[in-house]
């Protein structure tokens, strides 16, 4: 399936602006619900989970740009990827802030113990820590400076996504349908990449051989 849609520069600017506003809706919703005292009987948990879920959802959107390219041939949407990645980091930061502030009241002893003792917390915390260098090196200057290593570094996003899904999976009590949904989406997004990589290699043995030599 080849789609030839190619927005103009101006259109892309508009799409970016629209996406920027859309990506703030989950936060605006929480503020709205908070102002109207509608954050359920357990507001802290609600806010914490909502932010975490949106971080994961935005990450899935970020990771879908390349599969869209592989499936349709369209490339312009790759220009949206950085913004979405940074929004993922934005929601992860808010999620983490909610955890250390509202949930744990900056009780550092309790936080360290919680991270060390409970695998789901450790896994989530690791994903957060791993996301920091990606956010820091997301600007053009860093892309130019790091060159090939930038690409290698940013492949960490796959690990972050896997850790994020595990974090969610391990925290639910029994009904795993929601984390399962994210696991399937992630499997699909990574699967498309792997399939294309495999197809490219098997279609062009010369390329594979060159790669092996390199």
């Amino acid at each position: 399936m080849v789609i030839k849609y190619q927005p103009s520069k101006k259109q892309i600017a508009w799409i970016k602006a629209g996406l920027f506003v859309a990506a703030l809706i989950p936060l605006a919703r929480l503020v709205w619900l908070g102002v109207h005292d509608n954050l359920t009987a357990n507001p802290i948990e609600f806010v914490e989970r909502s932010l975490g879920t949106w971080a994961l959802a935005v990450l899935m959107i970020t990771l879908s740009m390349t599969p869209i390219k592989l499936l349709t041939g369209m490339v312009w949407q790759i220009q949206l990827r950085r913004m979405m990645g940074l929004f993922m980091f934005f929601y992860v930061c808010l999620h983490f802030l909610t955890y250390i502030w509202l949930d744990q009241s900056f009780d550092w002893m309790a936080i360290v113990k919680d991270i060390a003792k409970h695998p789901y917390v450790l896994v989530g915390f690791s994903a957060f820590v791993l996301a920091i260098p990606l956010a820091v090196t997301s600007n053009n200057a860093m892309v130019r400076r790091l060159r090939e290593r930038w690409k290698q570094l940013h492949q960490l996003v796959y690990l972050i996504a896997i850790l994020g899904v595990i974090h969610f999976w391990w925290l639910v009590k029994k009904d795993i349908r929601e984390p399962l949904f994210y696991a399937l989406v992630l499997a699909l997004l990574l699967g498309i990449r792997l399939y294309h990589k495999y197809k490219k290699l098997s279609n062009a043995p010369g390329v594979a051989a060159n790669k092996a030599v390199a």
Binding site: G34, L39, T40, A41, N42, P43, I44, E45, V47, L102, D103, Q104, S105, A110, K113, D114, K117, H118, P119, Y120, W170, L171, K173, K174, D175, R177
Partner: protein, 326 residues
Amino acid sequence: MFIGRKSDILASEITPREVFENRRGFIKAAGFSLIAGTAAATGFISGLASKRAEAATQRQKIVGYSKTAYGAGEKLTDYDDITTYNNYYEFGTSKSDPAPESMLFKPRPWTVSIGGEVKKPKQISIEDILKVAPLEERIYRMRCVEGWSMVIPWVGLPLAQLIKFAEPTANAKYVEFISIADKQTMPGLNIPVLDWPYVEGLRMDEAMNPLTIMAVGLYGELLPNQNGAPMRLVVPWKYGFKGAKAIIKIRFTEKMPQTAWMKAGPTEYGFYANVNPTVDHPRWTQSTERRIGGGLFSPRIKTQMFNGYAEQVAQLYSSMDLRKNF
């Protein structure tokens, strides 16, 4: 209709008349509020309003229960929080599900069967259960295994009184509580998260402890459906999931019953499930808890051994390793 021939449809498969009628009533109520509440504009809002209105009319005061000293000085959790934040998987796994999803559930008429190690199996209606012993208000802390807690003014009778009525034999070492699993009115049963019906159990001495009650109401009114109407178990020194809701069967057994949560996660949920800040759930901490109702900036509070009821119940477990018997 063939007279004198037995129907080959199980009675349980036929939608009870009350449910059917209630649906009609519900549709009617929704229609009325749609007309009356045109200002509300959307069908969604008026539908919700009619559900609320219906829930309000179903609230029924309990006459003649006595107050007790339990829970003196505790700040009660709001009625709205107690009735909208529920773990009741028969109505859905989200804590906001039970309140709206239990609207069609009919807690009356209700008959409880008592069997197993008893002198003689019995059936008893909920009306008669309310007369087994004088009803009392018990204000108890409730600590959920997930790490949150409430203070709830239950109305109920000591379980010991109901057990006396049941007349268990000397062989009875445990009591098993089986909840209703009615697919017609409980949409959550379609999801196999637990091995339905919900089963809970207590050791006899735990069941006979004066703290253990069979609750039939809260805040001086009959139990709302989402809180386990018409009767539910309340064992305040144990995690909330021990409190089986909408109980239809009570069985006395010689062997320890296999509870629904033990089957679902034997390494995470034990038979005893005593509130214990020193024994963590394998995945999260049990040393602190969040008291519901404190808002966005309320800190966690320390969880107490046996949920603060150690004085009354610690002796039940004096010879046991609570790390193993979690």
